[in-house]
Symmetry: C2
């Protein structure tokens, strides 16, 4: 997805939030915003937002000396998600369509990102999702929820590349991965995390804490940007990306980076940003499972 | 009020909104944002937000050639407000404290600004205010609603300078001005409007359409900025500002520009921006009547 002009105010918001969290004083915060401001005219709108995010979080890191300001938030998210793991499993087990429920929960796990950014009470939100009746969050199949196509692709796939999004959310991913493995234990699942800390994106340690390592091979994309920007990925990761039978991509950042990548990808996310919702033609807050193949034009 | 770092993302939002309304294509919009971006490092936080707003709206005006993009919105607001004028008067007439009700309505009229910026249905919102029971919106006297002090100051004042905010809202101001004149027809009321179009701020023509001319002398502040920035006002206006027995200031923009001006001012506005709400220590959406005398430090 290209960058829209509405993303620009948001770049400054994000920079400010990260700077605050890094403990920067007001003088440093202003310097950070000034530096971001000077980079705006140089940033082409044809690039995707995570490329600018790299500039933003890189600037904050460099000017505050804090390498991982979201470390505590990530730790808390992991703990919170692990504490509901048994309930997630129960929800799947009692469902009339286990795969669908596991997908829905994996997408619901994406609110952890929302929680961080908008100070929502993530715990309450999770309870709300877990306690609701066993009724599909999504319509089982619609223009923004391509469930049938997902199920078909999954059936035929020997190798599945699963692109992680946030810490905490990784536990929800585990539930979906376990569901996939249960129906076919020989499926080769590769779970890709970021190489360097950026926002609350999942790193190898988060995937390990969540227990993903028992069901999938954890690899690094080589990235320090919140979204799989292919031009910045490691060669090793790119080889996997090109050759995997199926790619499952979690979160908005990965959608922004890969929506025009040319190979089929299943995007699972909650539409939390109005710009993305407009791009996808869905409502704000919608649960999205989108198969895209569009090549870059 | 100084500029806070949280104002910076909002500067870009405002620029984008004004550029859209001016019919700028995406290329021009980007150029406008780029120019605003380059001015950020040069803008001192000690200045008040309306000083930056002048840069923003000036840039949009220059780069689009549209002198008054909000003209239609202002016209619509005036019509809408005039259509409820009789009901406003009735509301005051049937109230147990006419002055208090007139003040509350004058502040409520400030939602017209809110409506423009957030696409709320102003008509519905006005109906809601007008239909509610005769119960004070505000607490009659509190730390953010200095009604007693206002009433006392008004009683002793021979001359009152009333600083207008937005088109449409001027009709609500008329109701308060008529109330003031009714209790003392010899009070000299001066109603100050902007000299040049900026956002939906009231100009002389808006005050005349609202019928303010019959009760007050309309003067121009000489400004093209959304807030009474004294260093930019005409000498004639400054003389009035210094010598008026009482100054009533409407809207957030005037608060931002005058909150540290050194002379006592009564600020009437709805706290629609979280930064201002924090500065005033009130809740978002609160109805504020604040007497301030703080000198610039």
């Amino acid at each position: 997805m290209r960058t829209y002009l509405e993303c620009i105010p948001c770049f400054f918001k994000q920079a400010l939030e990260a700077a605050k969290l890094s403990g920067a004083d007001e003088r440093t915060r202003k310097k950070i915003l000034d530096e971001i401001a000077l980079s705006i005219p140089k940033f082409p709108l044809a690039s995707c937002p995570p490329e600018m995010a790299r500039v933003i979080y890189g600037t904050v890191k460099r000017m505050t000396g804090k390498n991982d300001p979201y470390a505590k938030i990530k730790e808390k998210s992991n703990k919170l998600a692990l504490s509901v793991y048994a309930r997630l499993k129960k929800k799947v087990a009692s469902s009339h369509d286990r795969l669908l429920t596991a997908i829905e929960l994996a997408i619901a796990g994406n609110i952890i990102d929302y929680g961080v950014k908008n100070s929502l009470n993530v715990g309450e939100e999770l309870n709300r999702i877990l306690n609701k009746e066993d009724k599909a969050i999504s319509k089982e199949n619609s223009s923004i929820f391509n469930y049938r196509s997902f199920r078909r692709a999954l059936k035929g796939a020997k190798s599945v590349l699963y692109l992680a999004d946030n810490a905490g959310e990784v536990v929800f991913d585990r539930v979906l991965i376990e569901e996939i493995k249960m129906s076919d234990k020989d499926k080769n699942i590769i779970y890709a995390v970021k190489e360097e800390p950026v926002i609350n994106d999942a790193l190898r340690e988060d995937a390990l804490i969540a227990g993903i390592g028992e069901k999938a091979a954890i690899v690094s994309s080589g990235l320090d940007t919140p979204g799989t920007v292919l031009s910045l990925c490691s060669k090793e990761f790119l080889r996997i990306f090109r050759h995997a039978d199926m790619v499952i991509s979690k979160g908005q950042g990965n959608f922004e980076a890969l929506s025009d990548c040319g190979r089929p990808v299943f995007f699972l996310f909650m539409a939390k940003c109005p710009v993305i919702a407009r791009d996808v033609r869905c409502g704000l807050g919608d649960v999205v499972l989108l198969r895209k193949t569009t090549a870059k034009t």
